[in-house]
C-alpha cells in the first residue's frame, strides 16, 4: 500500500489543484512512496477510537458591521464593481 503510482499521484494533484511537471511527479511519487513506507507501522496500529473533542465555544447571534470592502478588494488579483473577478465558468456545489 505504500507505493504511489503516477496515475494515483496525478489524480491527487488534480484534486489538490496542482500541476507539477512530469519530472516533478516522478520525483514526488518516489518521495511519497518512501515516506509512506517508513510510516507503514502506523497502518498496522490497532488504535482506539479518537478522543472526542470538547464542546465547542459558541457566539451570540449579534451581527457586527463587516469589513470595508476596500480593505480587501484592493488586495484581490482582479476586482470590478465590488466583485471579485475570475475567468468565466459555470458549476459549483452546495
Amino acid at each position: 500500500m505504500s507505493s504511489v503510482d503516477l496515475e494515483t499521484l496525478r489524480t491527487l494533484a488534480t484534486l489538490a489543484r496542482l500541476t507539477p511537471s512530469d519530472a516533478e511527479l516522478t520525483r514526488l511519487a518516489a518521495d511519497l512512496g518512501r515516506i509512506l513506507e517508513a510510516f507503514e507501522a502506523l497502518a498496522q496500529a490497532p488504535g482506539p477510537r479518537p478522543d472526542e473533542p470538547p464542546a465547542t465555544r459558541t457566539r451570540a447571534d449579534r451581527p457586527v458591521p463587516a469589513l470595508d470592502p476596500e480593505a480587501f478588494l484592493a488586495a484581490a488579483p482582479a476586482h470590478e464593481g465590488g466583485f471579485f473577478v475570475v475567468p468565466r465558468t459555470v458549476g459549483g456545489e452546495t
Binding site: 500500500m1 504511489v4 494515483t8 499521484l9 491527487l12 494533484a13 484534486l15 489538490a16 489543484r17 496542482l18 500541476t19 507539477p20 516533478e24 514526488l28 518521495d31 511519497l32 518512501r34 515516506i35 509512506l36 517508513a38 510510516f39 507501522a41 502506523l42 497502518a43 496500529a45 490497532p46 488504535g47 482506539p48 477510537r49 479518537p50 478522543d51 465547542t56 465555544r57 459558541t58 457566539r59 469589513l67 480593505a71 480587501f72 488586495a75 484581490a76 488579483p77 482582479a78 471579485f84 475570475v86 475567468p87 468565466r88 465558468t89
Partner: protein, 494 residues
C-alpha cells in the same frame, strides 16, 4: 544607563527600565534597529522591517510614560513576529510566494495583546514556507543562519525569530509550533522556546498549517521572559473556538524542586541520539537530581509511531488549510490556461515550494476516499493512544524531561534533499504536539563541533494545562544553571 547596554538586557529588565523611566523606549528601539542593520545581513532573520510602526509605537509609549499612564508589562520591549502572525497592513507572507506582498486586513489576537502590553514590533521574521520545515530552508525568501555557526541551520520553522533572539537582536519573539517549530530552533540556537498547552494562546490570526496542532509559541533568552509574555498573551479568546476557557497564566512563585518527580521516557534516549546531546541532557538531569528531583524512568511506547502519526495528521490538515490559496481573493494570480480551474492550479503550482507541494499531496492522499481509513483514521487512533500514555505518565510524575532534538544544529543543505531525514529530526518534539501538552526547550549545555560549540536543548513537558507549573520548574532549572547566559560570538565569525 547607557544605550550600549539595552540590547544586553532581557525583556523583563527592559520592560521595568522603561516603566520606571530609567530608559526610553525610543532609545532601546534605536539600539535594536542599529543592531538589525549591523547583524541581520549575516543572519537573514528579518523578512520585513517595521521601523516606522516601531518608532511610532515607541514614541507613544514614552509619551504615555511622561503623562504617567500605567505601563504595560512588556513596555518598550522590541519583538519579532514570525511572518505567519497577522498584523493589519503589514506584509505577512508565511515564507511563501503564494502570499508575497499580502497585507492582512486584521491583526491576530496574540499580536493585539502584545501591542496592548506595550511591546514594540520591530520586524517580521523569516520562516519555512507555511511553517513546514525544520531548518528554515523551505523559505521562499531567505536562508536564515544559526548565530553559533553561520554555516548551520537555526532550525525551523520559526527560524528568523529564533536566530534573532539568539543573536541578541531582540529579547523576545513570537513563533508558532505545530510539531516543534518553536522548541527545535530554540534548542539549536541556545535559547528558551515554549509551546503552551493547545488552546492556551489564541490561534486567531495565526496562519493555519495543522489546525489541531498549531500553537503560538514564545522565544526568549530566559524562562522568566517567557512567563512575562505568557501572562500578557494568554486568556480565552472568543474568536478562537478552541482556545481554553481560562484566565491568563500567572507566574508561580519559586517551586520546590526537592521531591519533584521527573519522568524520563526511555524512547527519548533512543539509539539515534547524538552522543553529545545525550551527554548534555544526562548532565542536565543529574543537575536536577542534585537539586532534589526524583528521576523516574518510564516508557511511552506510542512515541515510536509519533512521527508517522504526526505527518499524517499535519499534512491532512495542511492540504485542507492551504486550499484557500487559489488566486481568487488575494495573493498573486497566474492565468494558466485561462479557465477557472486552470488559473487556480497554475496559481497554486507557482505559489508553493516543493516541500509544501509534497505535503499537500501527502495530505490529499491520506484523506482521499480509498486511503482515509487506513491512514488518517489510524493516525487519529494512535494520537489518542499517545495522549492516554501521557495522561498515565502524569499520574506518576510532575514533568517529563529529555532532549529537544536528536542532534545539534546541522549544516545548511545537509538534509534539504532528503525530506524523510528532515521529518525524523522532529521525533522528540511531535509527541507533545500530538497530545496538546505544554513543552519547553531550555539550554542544557553545548556540543563541541570542531572549533565551535553548538547549543543543546533540554525539553521539559508538563501535563495538559499545567503551563504555569512547568514554567516554574524550567525557571528553577535555569536559575541553577548558566547555559542560557552564553551568547554566540557572532562578530568573530565574519
Amino acid at each position: 544607563m547607557s544605550t550600549d547596554d539595552s540590547t544586553e538586557l532581557d525583556a523583563s529588565a527592559l520592560a521595568s527600565a522603561h516603566a520606571q523611566g530609567a530608559l526610553a523606549a525610543c532609545a532601546t528601539l534605536e539600539d535594536t534597529l542599529a543592531s538589525l542593520d549591523a547583524l541581520d545581513p549575516l543572519l537573514e532573520s528579518v523578512a520585513v522591517r517595521l521601523d516606522q510602526l516601531a518608532r511610532t509605537t515607541a514614541e507613544r509609549l514614552d509619551g504615555a510614560r511622561q503623562h504617567e499612564f500605567p505601563a504595560g508589562p512588556l513596555c518598550g520591549v522590541p519583538v519579532m513576529l514570525k511572518s505567519n502572525l497577522c498584523l493589519a497592513g503589514v506584509e505577512t507572507n508565511c515564507g511563501s510566494r503564494a502570499l508575497a506582498g499580502y497585507r492582512p486586513p486584521y491583526t491576530a489576537t496574540v499580536v493585539e495583546r502584545l501591542l496592548a502590553a506595550g511591546a514594540v514590533p520591530v520586524a517580521m521574521g523569516h520562516m519555512d514556507e507555511f511553517a513546514m520545515g525544520s531548518s528554515g530552508e523551505n523559505s521562499a525568501f531567505a536562508r536564515t543562519r544559526n548565530p553559533w555557526d553561520l554555516a548551520r541551520t537555526p532550525g525551523g520553522s520559526s527560524s528568523g525569530p529564533a536566530a534573532a533572539v539568539a543573536a541578541g537582536l531582540v529579547p523576545l519573539a513570537l513563533g508558532s509550533d505545530t510539531g516543534g517549530s518553536v522548541r527545535q530552533p530554540a534548542a539549536l540556537c541556545g535559547i528558551t522556546g515554549f509551546k503552551p498547552t493547545y488552546g492556551r494562546l489564541s490561534r486567531f490570526g495565526l496562519v493555519a498549517f495543522g489546525s489541531s496542532l498549531d500553537q503560538v509559541g514564545i522565544l526568549a533568552r530566559s524562562v522568566r521572559d517567557v512567563e512575562l509574555a505568557l501572562e500578557a498573551l494568554s486568556g480565552a479568546d472568543g474568536r478562537d473556538a478552541t482556545s481554553l476557557d481560562e484566565p491568563p497564566v500567572v507566574r508561580l512563585d519559586a517551586v520546590r524542586l526537592a521531591g519533584l518527580r521527573v519522568g524520563v521516557p526511555a524512547e527519548a534516549f533512543g539509539p539515534g541520539l547524538d552522543p553529545r546531546v545525550r551527554a548534555a541532557c544526562e548532565a542536565a538531569l543529574e543537575r536536577l537530581e542534585e537539586l532534589g528531583c526524583v528521576r523516574v524512568p518510564l516508557s511511552l511506547p506510542s512515541t515510536a509511531l509519533a512521527i508517522a502519526c504526526y505527518y499524517v495528521v499535519a499534512t491532512a490538515e495542511a492540504a485542507s488549510n492551504l486550499a484557500r490559496y487559489d488566486g481568487v481573493r488575494y495573493g498573486p494570480r497566474v492565468a494558466g490556461d485561462g479557465t477557472l480551474a486552470g488559473m487556480q492550479a497554475a496559481t497554486r503550482t507557482a505559489g508553493f515550494g516543493p516541500e509544501v507541494v509534497r505535503r499537500i499531496l501527502l495530505g490529499t492522499y491520506v484523506l482521499s476516499r480509498d486511503y482515509q481509513a487506513a491512514w488518517y483514521g489510524r493516525a487519529t487512533g494512535v494520537r489518542a493512544a499517545l495522549a492516554a500514555e501521557f495522561r498515565a505518565a502524569f499520574e506518576r510524575v510532575d514533568v517529563l524531561a529529555g532532549p529537544t532534538t536528536p542532534t545539534p544544529a546541522f549544516r545548511l543543505g545537509e538534509k534539504s534533499a532528503d525530506p524523510l531525514a528532515m521529518y525524523l529530526s522532529d521525533a522528540l518534539t511531535v509527541p507533545a504536539s500530538l497530545a496538546g501538552l505544554p513543552a519547553i526547550s531550555v539550554p542544557a549545555g553545548f556540543a563541541r563541533e570542531g572549533q565551535r560549540e553548538l547549543p543543546v536543548g533540554l525539553q521539559l513537558t508538563g501535563p495538559h494545562r499545567g503551563d504555569a507549573h512547568l514554567l516554574a520548574v524550567a525557571r528553577a532549572f535555569q536559575e541553577a544553571t548558566e547555559h542560557h547566559l552564553r551568547r554566540p560570538a557572532l562578530a568573530e565569525q565574519v
